[in-house]
Subunit: 334 residues, 2 copies
Amino acid sequence: MATIRDVAKLAGVSVATISRYLNKTGYVNVDTEHKIKKAIETLKYEPSSVARGLAGKQTKTIALILPDISNPFFPELARAVEDVASTYGYTVIFGNSDDQGVKERTYIELLKKKYIDGIIFASNTLNRDDAVQMNQSGIPIVCLDRGPDNHSCSVVRSKNREGAQLAVQHLLAAGCRKIAHIYGPMDLITAQERMKGYEDAVKSLPWFSPSLMVSGNFQINGGMKATEQLLHTHPDIDGIFAGNDLMAVGALKALHRMQILVPQQVKVCGFDGIQMAEITEPELTTVAQPIYEMGATVSRLLIKKIEGNLDTNEIYELDVTLIPRRSTQKGVHL
Amino acid sequence: MATIRDVAKLAGVSVATISRYLNKTGYVNVDTEHKIKKAIETLKYEPSSVARGLAGKQTKTIALILPDISNPFFPELARAVEDVASTYGYTVIFGNSDDQGVKERTYIELLKKKYIDGIIFASNTLNRDDAVQMNQSGIPIVCLDRGPDNHSCSVVRSKNREGAQLAVQHLLAAGCRKIAHIYGPMDLITAQERMKGYEDAVKSLPWFSPSLMVSGNFQINGGMKATEQLLHTHPDIDGIFAGNDLMAVGALKALHRMQILVPQQVKVCGFDGIQMAEITEPELTTVAQPIYEMGATVSRLLIKKIEGNLDTNEIYELDVTLIPRRSTQKGVHL
DNA sequence: GTCGAATGTGGTACCGGTTACACATAAAAT
DNA sequence: ATTTTATGTGTAACCGGTACCACATTCGAC
């Protein structure tokens, strides 16, 4: 591999000039420019990013820390992040935290040493202390879904509470008269917000009882268990709003096993809008988050921060959309 | 951030000694060791990976280039790759190639400049020339599924042809007497091999006709279209072997729309073993590849190569497993 | 005719590590 | 007692860029 000094020698100029030429910083005569261009070509010279990183403290690399890439919500997000990152010339390192604070912190250490330019956290265990520490160590971060409290970093999320209300209203409009909710892990803000939205919508209705809310783990099996439990204690429910699509899929499975017809006997609505929701039988109604857009936004935001075009911490709340499908279809009779 | 020279000063020794201590290369007196340890702690010193990279040409970073992380096959693979990479102290950069050679080559350029230690290609457009070039430029690469011809790099794949035979035999055993095949893009080795496996198993059977093989795009919609076409030309087929799970899911959808019962009228079998196959209705029989294991293997292999414990290029063919589910259940009558 | 700005280029310290080499001393071998 | 050998440490060049500063030259302005 040729170095900048090789190029300088061949072109008959100094390394400083080459550097200026490469970075378009400072003057370079047109003739010189041509000579340099030719030298670079004949040597097949490619400037070393590592050397640049060392000298300039910018690596054109960002990191994406998420709980688990194999959770169906994240691939699309990751795709969006990578798409915009690469558009702006950034590479992305990814890591799975399994929502464990330790792993997150280990990553942060690692990434600092690598002079990473910024970090996107799609993870929920990052706490305020960490965020503050990051801030003062000068590494821009942006969070997804959860802000480590108000203003220690920018946050991109969607309107979870509103979305949950939407879901319940949709179920009501579809004819449901007793709607249960399967909520996710309470340490996740998203799960909390969705539960609040559910409560907003049902608390004043005559049939409401807190025992209509059962916990799940945001996974398929959690949705199944919760559904079984639910139909055991409340055999008369006719609607289930699950805190995310995976649990809704679980609910569908459980109901199918119990030979309860969807949507005839029980209607089911999920939240997230993952691809999987389109292939269940019946297809799953869901409150779709703009997953790709969220990823793109968070990525763009981080890059803005990195390049110094943004120094305030803001919260972006993206709109959700209810996608009605067969699982909540009205007026389908037995 | 403290540098190695700060530590040296504080500990009262030279930078060389610090370096030796850090890398456990060469002798360091125990007393000195303690002094260094203390100095490092008080300064909260963390060696810069970038500087190390420049000096030592090793960045402890690998890249994973795949067609599209949002294709359900890849997240689990990515997870595996990252898991073992991080175990060995490596970070992973990921990129989406969309199976476009241009994008791949762009990545390669980028990664070279970053002194990446090695690359995993899960992509199929890498050709022999590229691989050879990589080899001589000293960057170890390992491929998934597709080797750019025999021995220019190591390859990890699963027994596609054998798996396809398995699928057809299973369908036959389940009572099918006319089995169609939806094959994937012919520029993908995997698709070719699976088709060959199908042919192996059916070519000598009386009912076989080449028109029973139709093409799909490895996506859900391709599976749907192919199925519609198939049932139009051959209304009497009673088994479909799809080249991958996504297309099988599409087949399921299409059959459902045509009101054809699965498995009563037509049985369907997929290939891959993605999570989605478990949540269809009926659940999808599939030839499961050991996805996680493939990722882990390819990752381990690459690291071995990087660390110089492997200089031959080998092919690892992992076993597939047929997972029988409802979509091919025998003896379910109308 | 002089001056200041614009244009163009080179020298070199610096980023923060690694490592070859030189040198010193203590322990073991002959 | 002398030569090896093992142990321990420092100096400084090097990895491949960036960027500050110094220095020339040209040119329009006053």
